[in-house]
Symmetry: C2
Subunit: 346 residues, 2 copies
DNA sequence: ATCATCACTGACATCGATTTCAGTTTGGAG
DNA sequence: CTCCAAACTGAAATCGATGTCAGTGATGAT
């Protein structure tokens, strides 16, 4: 490896002068130094710089599953921010597991200047350890019990659940099932609460056999949908609390030759790139993805700015939006011609 | 920050002894040291360790677009390998741009022990610089002109293009269009070559106005499909050379109210999680994704193993597989009843 | 010609962990 | 009780870059 000493020797100056040159200070022999750097192909050692400065210029990002299009979009948003900064992203999957998250975080705190985390569960204790390590922490998508003191970028999950419920109520559904994500997570818990409580206010109860809990993975959406179909009286509408479980539900309904929305209406949470192209086009509760990543990274970089005053935790909560497509319709019947036309028109 | 000196002082030993304890050597006062570590919450500094050892335990991964489900799956495969190793992944997007790739690589070589790269173009020179920096390099998905001396995990793109062509030929198509990816990339060039040359051998020429080149992004698939539809004599079948452009094509065909496969058959490259659920279910050339990531990471870790002999470059080429669904059919007509039943049966 | 001022320079200490080398301690044998 | 080998320990050097501090050299004013 070629070091600053090699460059100094070849340019006939001291390492200190080379260092000054690198940091943009005026130096008498800049020509000789530049030549030496080019000829030797010198690049300063990141490890040595980190040791001296105490900064790694690296941000740790921990998400449950990078193949979930939602998280992929969020990470891309983060990446778009770091592009113009000297920061890089150290990426890790937690696989929806607190233990893996623990392991990964313990390692990350030693290597990064800050961390953006979508915690596997709300009860997770580790992130507080992260704070002990004096590494700034920002939550994205999911929150933590007692996490109010950290920056966070979230969405109005409760409101999203409400929107889904109101949509189904407006269509006249009364036998309504929910496939929730893990209730240990903020989105899992709040989406269900918003959904169930809104139905309850309208006098529609969700009986236990309709009130199912999955794990945000496609397989659980598939299995739980099958179990709904095996009931003596299946629901006329199903709400799935994230994109992957919605796909699982859709696959199950296809496999069982259920007509959507003729026999069962399906509404999901989180839009998909393919959402409009599916059979049928999916009605979903949508939310900003890329933008969440951008905001989370900006919050973190602000914390890392030495001129930043510190200040209170920023808690950003974005709104969800209902996108009506063709997978929902009044119970029993086929989609009304009006609805169909409306959906197809754009 | 708590250092090894603090621990040593509290345990009443020298830093050298603490270091030995950390590296698992036998030490008389291990109890006192362990206690001191716990009480102080000590973690060794990654920067200092890197400086001393010359290793960062970090792998750089550069892909064109992490929101492409193919690359997300590949990265997840890589991650699954590093999970049981002390390595972490530094992730960067090149956005299909050689310049961004350059910038990112110049920075990465200073921070990582090895790099896995899906180059933006075949003509890219930078990766050779990476080699100058003595950082092992593995290609995934895409190759480089003159890259034969590097490890690589690729697929038989030429064969995949051939499979697509043979499928369309078997259905009887003669007016066939290709939406290729950038011809500067291995997959862009080879998929087109395999496709066009197979058609040519069967006496089917692809005229210039059918022989279009996109950039692997959804928008180009959309635009190029529209341009095909505006021709006086549009094709009866379209081959799109990756998943995103296939989606773009599908959207364009929907927007223009084209019946698939009644008026136009569509075949894609790379399956999607939603592939079977689309309108219509897509016929595609599929290939291993997760597995490609696993293999690439294994190759790289082998290079990093100090006991490894060095040895020749490993060039792994995986096979593609045709998945027949309902988006392709004989020209002109509706899908034959037989085909439809077959597709729906699973 | 002299001196004050300013711009620039190099030796050295430093960041935190590891490793070498020269001890010191321990345990057992005689 | 003495001695030796084996087990363990600490001081100091090291990795590469940077910041401090005490200079050296040039420039201009007198």
């Amino acid at each position: 490896m070629v070091t600053i000493h090699d460059v100094a020797a070849r340019a006939g100056v001291s390492p200190a002068t080379v260092s000054r040159f690198l940091r943009g200070q005026r130096v008498r022999s800049y020509e000789a130094i530049q030549t030496a750097i080019d000829e030797l192909g010198y690049w300063p050692s990141a490890a040595a710089q980190s040791l001296k400065s105490g900064r790694t210029n690296t941000i740790g990002v921990v998400v449950p599953d990078i193949t979930n299009p939602y998280f992929a979009a969020v990470v891309k948003g983060m990446e778009s921010v770091t592009r113009t900064e000297p920061y890089r992203i150290l990426l890790a999957n937690s696989d929806e597991s607190s233990e893996q998250e623990d392991d990964v975080l313990a390692d990350l705190v030693r290597r990064v200047d800050g961390i953006i985390l979508a915690p596997a569960t709300e009860q997770d204790e580790t992130p507080l350890h992260v704070r002990d390590a004096d590494v700034p922490l920002v939550f994205v998508d999911r929150d933590l019990a007692g996490g109010e003191r950290f920056d966070a970028v979230l969405v109005d999950n409760d409101g999203g659940g409400r929107q889904a419920a109101e949509h189904l109520l407006a269509l006249g559904h009364t036998r309504v099932a929910a496939i929730s994500g893990s209730l240990d997570t903020t989105p899992g818990r709040l989406r269900r609460e918003g959904f169930v409580s809104t139905l309850a206010k309208a006098g529609v109860e969700v009986p236990p056999e309709y009130d199912l809990v999955g794990d945000f993975k496609e397989h659980s959406g598939y299995q739980l949908t099958l179990s709904l179909l095996s009931l003596p009286e299946p629901p006329t509408a199903v709400f799935a609390a994230n994109n992957l479980m919605t796909l699982g539900a859709l696959k199950a309904l296809h496999d069982m030759r259920i007509d959507i929305p003729g026999q069962i209406s399906l509404i999901g949470f989180d839009d998909l790139d393919t959402g409009p192209l599916l059979r049928p086009p999916l009605t979903v509760v949508d939310r900003p993805m890329f933008e969440q990543g951008v905001l989370a990274m900006r919050l973190l970089l602000r914390r890392l700015d030495p001129d930043d005053g510190g200040g209170m935790a920023s808690r950003v909560v974005l709104d969800t939006k209902l996108i009506e497509r063709a997978s929902t319709a009044p119970p029993g019947g086929h989609p009304s011609p009006a609805r169909t036309r409306k959906t197809r028109s754009r």
